[in-house]
Amino acid sequence: MNQLIPITQLALPIPAPMSDAAWQQAQAGGSIEAMWNVYLNQIATELLCEDLAVDFPQIRVWPDADIWQFVNGSVLELNNKRLVLLPSRAIDNSELVIPQEWVDIPAWAGDYFLAVQIDPDAELLHCWGYTTHQMLKSKARYDAVDRTYHLDAYQLIADVSGLWAIQELNPTEVTQAAIAPLASVATTQAENLLQRLATVPDPRLEIPFGLWGALASDRTWRSRLVELRQGATSSPRTAANRLGDWLQNAFATGWQAVEDFLGEDAELAFALRQTATATPIVRRVKALQLPDCLLLLLVSVEVETADRLSIQVQLRADDRTATLPAGICLELLSSDDEVVRSVVARDRDNAIQLPRFRSESGTGFKIQVRSGETTVCESFLV
């Protein structure tokens, strides 16, 4: 595949571990667009910085990864010039799309713009052209709907090695056209705007560019926006409990040591199904509030092998003398929400439990408690 890339352009293989790590990082992103931004920009910055540092040891990466939640593009700094990387997974190289943020925000405006194609299948990074801010402003077509500049492949400088040659011969070449300053935004106005942007699908298109630019380019405001948007989309209930963390003694709020609830009867609780074991067992209990009662969910986790856990789940009334409401149902669901196991409380049961089950590393499951119309669910990730 490399033969099809002219030697005037830059082609670098993407090491599999780098791709895996970047992909993992990308899963924490919000939208699918943000996910791809994180993946592509992470690889672009890491790989290019590593490669260019050989000839240009003074090269630096902008550390702000949260930008990728909103917009594509990352920055390498070299010789006091900003090199804006614009990665894409498109294989056609028809045009270079540059978000307006990198052109018209004075604090962000690039000197050079590098078209970077990243192919996760061919595991290849390919720089197929570049341009300067000046050239972009004079030749590019502006799309007001998306707030992006567009340059046809033919309008770019195809010989990317020329960029490095110029960094050696003429690092102070004039690259930028004039950029109008953005009006400053008062703190109260900013807070109002951020609140508004917390719930809209595409914040960068919601308010006039000048205002957006001022918010996005301010580190504090930008991270506040990321926070607000994360809060708006995820609820504590649906976040999965990571059992891997449990084995490291880290627990999400709500999960407490069994001893705190049942005192010496903790041992009694698990006497219902005893297994003699030398390996450590992690046990935690969480209080579940149902409309007319408080119940306790007990989860016991045991390491069977490096990738497999043995898990036991019990539901009991909060008072050791009390009984569970009859008909209450404790269910084990697979990650596709299919009911795998189910147990129903009869009259005068004070505890019910699911048969011990095994789960492999990386799988998810849910524990559901149903009482009449009410359902309470806890997600787990092994």
């Binding site: 033969q3 099809l4 699918i32 997974r89 294989i91 300067t132 090695s161 050696e168 003429n170």
Partner: protein
């Protein structure tokens, strides 16, 4: 293939292929008449003169959609036939087994002449042929690379791996009207915003969206179409149908048809060309200017050649061997990698670095001798000059049996 010598033929004839080999030159009657008329008005023009002349006409008509623009493009496309052929011919052996015929590769490359002309900077010292030589090569390589990748992709993978522009170009080429294009575009936008695999970034064989995802896609589509009043609601089944159709259109966009750039019959009438007389207004001064400019260019090029000779002398032996293998022997990067026992991507990196050294030599010469600062806007031109020189220099050493 016979190299054209007759001036009128150079600007009005197109290469024909038979069984994938170039056979004869087919004259386009309108371009022939136009050129005959032009030459009658100015008999002393050289080939270079007329190239510059038609470039100037192109520039004058640049933003119009007039027959005069098409006329200029036609003359220049004819002019570039040999350049395109040799460029394609040079690239093809390098890329290993290619399932494409030479004639098809030629058509793909020559079809880019209008775009090439739009980007060509006539103010720079590099002539059109030199510039086109590099562009044709890059264009063909890029095309073959895309085709190879597309062949690996399922329909859903393909839709994830194209740009918006590629989608719209493919739909336009299929003669979709604006309404259909918008519908398909919104469906694609909804798909790419909602469909992904969480297991891996690999896209070639990504699974089709499941029922849950189709619901999300339909909802996104419904939200987005509010900005497009002429787009009606659509069910997931309809969206699926459109998207599969879009993938087909994108795929076939990469498979060349016989409709290349060669003069499109029926677009312009005889009368249009007769009336928009271009070629009757050649002034003697222009011819003189051109001769002077050419002479100056030639002198500069001679100096540049000397600079390059010197720069190559200064390279170490491995670097020179690399250049010889690549330019004189036309070796593939794979072959060179085997020869030198290094990974293939290292070959392209080394070649790139060597070439960069030579590029710097020219830029430095330009700075010291011509007082032209090395800036980004000259890179395309200088790079094309360098490429052309390297190709012809090593071709000469091949013929003379010399090695460097």
């Amino acid at each position: 293939m016979r190299q054209r010598k007759d001036l009128i033929e150079i600007f009005s004839a197109f290469l024909q292929f038979e069984s994938d080999r170039p056979t004869l030159w087919a004259i386009d009657p309108r371009l022939h008449r136009s050129m005959t008329r032009a030459v009658a008005a100015e008999a002393r023009g050289s080939e270079d003169f007329w190239a510059v002349y038609w470039l100037r006409q192109y520039d004058k008509q640049r933003d119009t959609l007039s027959p005069a623009l098409r006329q200029a493009i036609g003359h220049l496309a004819a002019y570039l036939q040999e350049t395109c052929f040799w460029s394609v011919n040079r690239v093809m052996p390098r890329v290993g087994s290619v399932q494409m015929k030479l004639s098809d590769c030629f058509q793909v490359a020559i079809a880019d002449v209008p775009k090439l002309l739009q980007a060509f900077d006539a103010s720079k010292p590099t002539g059109l042929k030199t510039y086109a030589n590099t562009v044709f090569g890059n264009c063909l390589r890029d095309y073959l690379r895309q085709r190879k990748e597309v062949d690996f992709c399922s329909e859903w993978g393909l839709l994830q791996k194209i740009s918006r522009k590629r989608l719209l170009d493919a739909l336009t080429a299929s003669n979709f009207d604006a309404a259909m294009r918008d519908r398909y575009y919104l469906a694609w936008k909804a798909l790419t915003s909602n469909h992904s695999s969480d297991k891996s970034p690999k896209l070639r064989t990504i699974e089709a969206p499941d029922a849950q995802t189709w619901e999300l896609i339909a909802r996104s589509f419904d939200r987005e179409r509010k900005d497009f009043p002429h787009v009606a609601a659509a069910t997931p089944k309809e969206l699926e149908k459109w998207l599969l159709d879009a993938a087909k259109k994108v795929r076939s966009y990469l498979y060349p048809t016989v409709n290349s750039l060669n003069v499109k019959k029926g677009d312009d009438t005889e009368a249009d060309w007769e009336s928009d007389l271009v070629g009757n207004d050649v002034s003697p001064m222009e011819a003189l200017e051109e001769r002077e400019a050419t002479a100056e260019r030639q002198s500069q090029q001679q100096q540049m050649v000397a600079v390059l000779h010197e720069a190559i002398e200064k390279l170490d032996a491995p670097a020179r061997e690399l250049l010889t293998l690549y330019y004189r022997d036309g070796a593939t990067q794979q072959h060179i990698a085997q020869q030198l026992a290094i990974p293939q991507y290292a070959v392209s990196r080394k070649l790139s670095k060597v070439r960069q050294t030579l590029l710097k030599a020219i830029l430095e010469w330009g700075q010291n001798t011509l007082h032209i600062a090395p800036t980004s806007d000259v890179i395309n031109s200088i790079s094309a000059l360098l490429e052309e020189w390297l190709e012809s220099f090593y071709a000469r050493t091949a013929r003379s049996g010399a090695s460097l």
